[in-house]
């Protein structure tokens, strides 16, 4: 009885823990910081100054995101659905939305009922 109570009172809790399924954190700060294995423990100023002025697929600096073209998410600009009575012609859309031209092979395949694919 005494042994049981002693044992229950001193139950060991492992230090190692199951951390669960690994997942990408929802919020990540991508601003440049010093690399964990850096011998100097510091990052040159050039990293911050480059980002402040550089353009790569849009400005890199966080502060400039709000005021320029592309600084606002598409969703925030409202729906692109045509209003009642309004129609878009496919020809007005960028070419990537256009119909792809038929190739001769496809035309032949249709006309021969698929036989040309095995010719």
């Amino acid at each position: 009885m005494r042994a049981t109570s002693i044992l229950s009172g001193t139950a060991r809790t492992p230090l190692i823990r199951f951390v669960g399924k690994r997942s990408v954190p929802k919020s990540i700060d991508h601003s440049p910081r010093v690399h964990p294995a850096s011998p100097t423990g510091s990052l040159p100023d050039s990293f911050a100054t480059y980002r402040a002025k550089a353009q790569q697929h849009g400005p890199l600096g966080r502060s400039s995101f709000n005021s320029t073209v592309g600084g606002t998410a598409g969703a925030a600009l409202g729906p692109v659905k045509p209003q009642a009575g309004e129609f878009f012609d496919r020809a007005e859309l960028p070419s990537r939305f256009g119909r792809l031209p038929w190739t001769q092979a496809e035309i032949d395949a249709i006309e021969t009922g698929g036989a040309s694919m095995f010719a």
Partner: protein, 512 residues
């Protein structure tokens, strides 16, 4: 009708290249076709999502991972063979020679007491080198296959920056190719550091590369540098019959990181095997004009000069980043005072789309560290999040017995002011080591005195390089020595020594 199963965004180029024969003839094959045409970020047909300069461990692992993640990837390598230093002139060939020279040495000196009578044992160095080359060839070809399997374009040539997104490749077979990429990874590795005044010809004055390809066993060999590379090569040639002397500037062998107590034991054991050591000694100058090479040495703190003669001198004083010919100035990528490319926590240089992994940047020059970084760098590109724990990177010296460690050593912990406990267990008290007649060495644990969390594990003994994986896992997951001690280990195995050392740290071992 055939296009019905293809998304509208399917690149026209993909369709164009497909040709009439590639038109899918049923739904299942159509879906495969879609999967293959799916790409990450590149917009133009000729652009790559990622170009990797260097096909060594860091480069090829990044290339495979990128291919798996659906990035249109190219990998540039000028050696003509993938795998870099590790596979071609480093880890892999050295392990082949270490293993086979150990077998030779064992057959020569360690069979009688085991009840094995052997006859005339001879060394066939040419065949030993051939066995090494076969291993290397098989592995490098295997990597080439893996790149192909994962859709990576393998470009044989030397890459250099034209601008921040353009790499010009001087092709090995002649001519030039230009690659454009949204992301670039520099993984050009490292090279052996030379010694001032000694001209490396890889025949008489050699680096580790030459030490893996000697055509005959030198009578006398001097190794400058008692780090891991120096000691592994010293072991190989000493086992094969050379009279080897290791000159080390520091007071202990093994280089930085190896626990002083373990290093002392390693020196004693290797000394018994016939290697001579001159620690706390510096090489002042060398002369290779005669039939032998003479080195003038003296105590590191100053003292009487001594002359060492040798047929072959191995310079193993360290490695330095190799970034020659990349034209880094063109894009303004910075180096530190030791030539390492400066990066932030996501492996980005000043230019965020150019990343650096492996030996040519910060951290220990280890192949497994480079692999971890390569995977993390691709994850940063793809998901914005990657993971490398620099506190849990193991180091292994593949001598016999092997030496391996992970985490901090005792001197480092002492200096940090943390209160700690040490527990150790000798292999001489381990049943499996006894049956193997291979009992030299010890497992040493260092744990936080208050929390019992494992801070460092240091092993010298048979199979230490394999055993350190358990310690690395323990440190990665923040285990206590009691966690390990209460985990069942199979009997009779060498790993029981590991468990008993953990027991010795938090309480007492059973068998010692």
């Amino acid at each position: 009708m055939f296009r019905a199963v293809l998304p509208r965004a399917t690149p026209r180029s993909a369709l164009r290249h497909a040709g009439p024969r590639a038109i899918p003839n049923n739904f299942a094959t159509s879906m495969i076709f879609i999967g293959q045409s799916k790409r990450g970020f590149a917009s133009e047909a000729g652009d790559h999502d990622l170009v990797i300069i260097g096909g060594g461990v860091a480069g090829y692992v990044a290339a495979i991972k990128a291919g798996q993640e659906g990035l249109k990837t190219a990998c540039i390598e000028k050696r003509g063979k993938l795998g870099g230093t590790c596979l071609n002139v480093g880890c892999i060939p050295s392990k082949s020679l270490l293993n086979n020279s150990h077998l030779y040495h064992q057959v020569l000196h360690d069979t009688k007491k085991r009840g094995i009578e052997v006859g005339d044992v001879k060394l066939n160095l040419t065949q030993m080198m051939k066995a090494k080359d076969t291993s290397v060839d098989g592995l490098t070809k295997g990597i080439e296959f893996l790149l192909k399997k994962n859709g990576v374009d393998y470009v044989k040539g030397a890459g250099s920056f034209v601008d921040a997104n353009t790499i010009k490749v001087a092709l090995n077979e002649g001519g030039e190719q230009t690659l454009r990429a949204k992301n670039i990874i520099i993984a050009t590795g490292s090279e052996a550091t030379g010694f001032p005044g000694l001209n490396i010809d890889e025949k008489r004055i050699i680096t580790s590369t030459g030490a893996l390809a000697l055509t005959e066993v030198p009578k006398k060999m001097t190794v400058i540098g008692g780090g891991i590379i120096g000691l592994e090569m010293a072991s190989v040639w000493s086992r094969l019959g050379a009279e080897v002397t290791v000159v080390e500037f520091l007071g202990q062998i093994g280089g930085p990181g190896m626990d002083a107590e373990i290093a002392k034991q390693a020196q004693k054991i290797l000394g018994k095997q016939g290697i001579k050591f001159k620690t706390g000694t510096k090489v002042v100058s060398g002369d290779d004009s005669g039939s032998t090479i003479s080195l003038n040495i003296e105590a590191a703190k100053g003292g009487k000069e001594e002359v060492l003669d040798a047929d072959v001198v191995l310079v193993a004083i360290g490695r330095r980043p190799y970034t020659e010919g990349l034209n880094l100035e063109q894009v303004g990528i910075e180096k530190d005072d030791r030539g390492r490319l400066v990066i932030d926590q996501e492996y980005r240089t000043k230019l965020p789309h150019i990343r650096v992994v492996g030996d040519c940047t910060f951290g220990p020059m280890l192949a497994h560290k480079a692999e971890e970084e390569a995977v993390a760098a691709i994850e940063y590109i793809k998901t914005g999040y990657g993971h490398v724990n620099y506190a849990a990177i193991p180091s292994v010296m593949y001598t016999h017995p092997e030496v391996a460690w992970v985490g901090q050593n005792e001197a480092e912990i002492k200096a940090s002011g943390v209160k700690y406990r040490v527990g150790s267990f000798p292999f001489s008290a381990n049943s499996r080591a006894k049956t193997n007649l291979d009992t030299e060495g010890v497992v040493k644990f260092i744990a936080d005195a208050e929390t019992d969390r494992v801070l460092g594990v240091h092993i010298i003994g048979p199979g230490a390089g394999e055993m350190i994986a358990e310690a690395t896992l323990a440190i990665e997951y923040g285990a206590s020595s009691e966690d390990i001690a209460r985990t069942c280990h199979a009997h009779p195995t060498l790993s029981e020594a590991f468990k008993e050392a953990a027991m010795a740290t938090y309480s007492k071992p059973i068998h010692f």
